[in-house]
Amino acid sequence: MPDNLSLKTEFSEMTDEAFRLQWRSWLEAHYPQEWRRPIVKRLHGPEEQRWLRLLHDHGWRLPAWPREHGGMGLPLSKQLIYHEELDRFGTARFLDSGGVLLGPVLIKYGTEAQKERYLAEIARGDVLWCQGYSEPNAGSDLASLTCQAVRDGAHYVINGSKIWTTMVQFSKRMFILVRTSNEDRKQRGISFLLLDMDTPGVSYRDIENLAGDVEFGQVFFDNVRVPVENLVHKEGEGWTVAKALLGGERLYSGSPGLSRHAMDTLERVIAALGLQNDPATNVLHSTLWCDVNDLTALYSKIADATIFGTAEGHEFSMLKILATELFQRIADACIEIAGAEAGAWDEAANEQLRRIFMIARPSSIYGGANEIQRDIVARALLGKPTR
């Protein structure tokens, strides 16, 4: 724990408003100005590490982790404020798979040795992790994964492939779901392993996305030997392990933050093109304005319910559907409003409209494709299908 933390009042003793102001002031004082490009910028590799290290050194790292593991140990109400302010300030996106996805898994299911080995370096931002889940034949149907891990003495031997592995180019380690046995219920044969990317037999290829970024890739495992100590929890329990998340993580995918930033862009485009009094523009703008207003209201209500402990799983799915599709519709509106200029590769009306439009596309695909999210909500409304 950095020394300057002991100079601060306990975060949980502060009022929510005092906490908000302190975090906001810190961002104003320390957030790199060149990174204040919401939506269009995501931090990669060294930049991500620099950000995580900066947070760590100033005591603002990992709001949801317990303090004993290097986090801030904040109650959910303050975690939500933390995220709200990051959104409001207009920060670059960053992935932090280690902090967000792996940390909670190790905190809940890891051995003491695993926690000691891996948590502190995640907290410091020294090590970036990637997530080895999806496969060429296992996306939404993740449980059908076939990347295999066979026990051989003191090792598991991995063969297979993972794909859509975000930030594989910058990751030192991977947490991976592998099949260790074939069971009647396919989830039951899955295990959760930790892997160093420089292990012999691991290779990858870059995949460029439609926004022009090289951020994900396909990874190949050719007789990759992983020590059995790198199994998290029990063999065959990987599916359960993978579901562990801390705090408000399930909530954030439904945040109106990206939609708000997209709306800022839309309003700048409208102003730049002098369309403020154009009736057709007004209809489109007002519809989207109300959509942002109403999503913000629903997000706030479900966030409160999450704090009270009454939020249900399908309600997070509801927000994810609404938030991602609204983000897309606003990006679509930017293109529509920009008229003849909208087809540009680079900038249109002084904004990176094509880039924003493309960045919005996968939001309805990742984090649980929206078709699956609708299935989840449908189950809550209508029960499971009978067949």
Binding site: N282, C290, S300, F308, T310, M318, L382, T386
Partner: protein
């Protein structure tokens, strides 16, 4: 579950549920349609005994002196059960105007409303001029579309003239009225006043306070209507969910078909947005936040569209049966048609919301 309520609201909801089950049904609603006014004064009186007609009125008028939150809880239930009695236009809208009025002149109408002896209705936004003549005034002009029209109602009429904006208590019988039947069996009347003489004791409010009072009362009425629309939408979706789970075709329940499941999810999402939107708007309105204006407009727009979407889908998923008079679905669809338009529909209010937001940002 994210909807929350306090103990008073729960109590209100429980007692309302029992009352409504006892006193009302779709068949009662059918029987009232085609009659004038399309609702029952006798039942209005019983609603008064429950404390509902005077829910917002102060104790000095014999009211329950409860707040907007309680009125909205009740509105949602009345919408869910399709009560045609004019709770929103009278017990919320008109009552709100009476609360702002000078207490002497408001006392009699307020008391009658609380006791369920009168239907008090807002008659605003027309072109009615007040011309002074000694201690009294004479009012003349036209006024469009007074909702929930009853020819024995007491109207709160907005006038303009030398004395500026004013609100007057005027018996409905003094207006020339041209009522037309609305989709849900209530009536909206276009009025003509031709030299109607009013005494000073009928003056409820004058001056700049009139615009402020109308603005606040309209906002409350829009939110109460939004709550009713959410009640209509959710009830019809619940009914439809039950139906599609048991109706089988091709050897499986309709509820198994993914296209139908996903469409119902999308309607549910709209109703959830509506529910959150009016609740957030009510909070903003009661806290006097500058953002209240845009939020109220957005909330009514969403509720209007969500209720229409839900009732239309309900017809679709009930198949041909949904398209019959004998099915109850049509009652919900007609109520949604009328209430989605009352005090502004989606298209109009979305534009108003944006315009208000732009003003608030300055």
């Amino acid at each position: 579950m994210w909807r929350r309520e306090d103990d008073i609201q729960t109590m209100l909801r429980d007692s309302a549920g029992d009352f409504l089950t006892d006193k009302h049904s779709p068949d009662r609603l059918r029987a009232l349609r085609g009659t004038e006014p399309g609702y029952s004064l006798a039942l209005w009186s019983e609603m008064a005994e429950m404390g509902w007609t005077g829910i917002l009125l102060p104790e000095q008028f014999g009211g329950a002196d409860l707040g907007l939150d309680e009125a909205l809880t009740l509105a949602e239930m009345l919408g869910a059960r399709l009560m045609p009695e004019p709770f929103v236009s009278s017990a919320v809208f008109a009552a709100s105007l009476l609360c702002d009025a000078a207490s002497q002149s408001a006392e009699e109408p307020g008391r009658k409303l609380a006791e369920g002896k009168a239907i008090v209705l807002p008659a605003l936004g027309g072109a009615v001029r007040a011309v002074p003549g000694g201690p009294s005034v004479s009012i003349s002009g036209t006024l469009a579309s007074v909702s929930d029209w009853h020819d024995e109602a007491l109207l709160i009429v907005e006038t303009d003239g030398e004395a500026g904006p004013q609100l007057w208590a005027v018996p409905a019988g003094q207006a020339g009225a041209n009522p037309r039947r609305m989709a849900d069996g209530t009536h909206a009347a276009d009025l003509t006043f031709d030299g109607v003489v009013l005494g000073p004791e009928q003056l409820l409010l004058s001056g700049p306070a009139v615009a402020a009072s109308i603005s606040r009362a309209t906002a409350r009425a829009r939110l109460a209507t939004s709550a009713m629309l959410e009640g209509i939408g959710r009830t019809v979706m619940d009914t439809t969910a039950e139906y599609v789970k048991q109706r089988k075709q091709f050897n499986q329940p309709l509820a198994d078909f993914q296209a139908l499941r996903h469409k119902m999810v999308d309607i549910h999402l709209q109703l959830e947005l509506a529910g959150a939107s009016w609740r957030a708007a009510a909070e903003a309105l009661e806290s006097d936040e500058p953002s209240a204006s845009s939020k109220v407009a957005a909330a009514k727009a969403r509720a209007s569209d969500a209720a229409l979407a839900a009732t239309k889908a309900a017809v679709q998923y009930h198949g041909a049966f949904g398209y019959t008079e004998e099915a109850d679905i049509g009652l919900y669809l007609n109520a949604a048609l009328r209430l989605s338009a009352y005090l502004g529909g989606g298209a109009h209010l979305r534009q108003q919301a944006l315009a208000a937001a732009k003003k608030e940002a300055v």
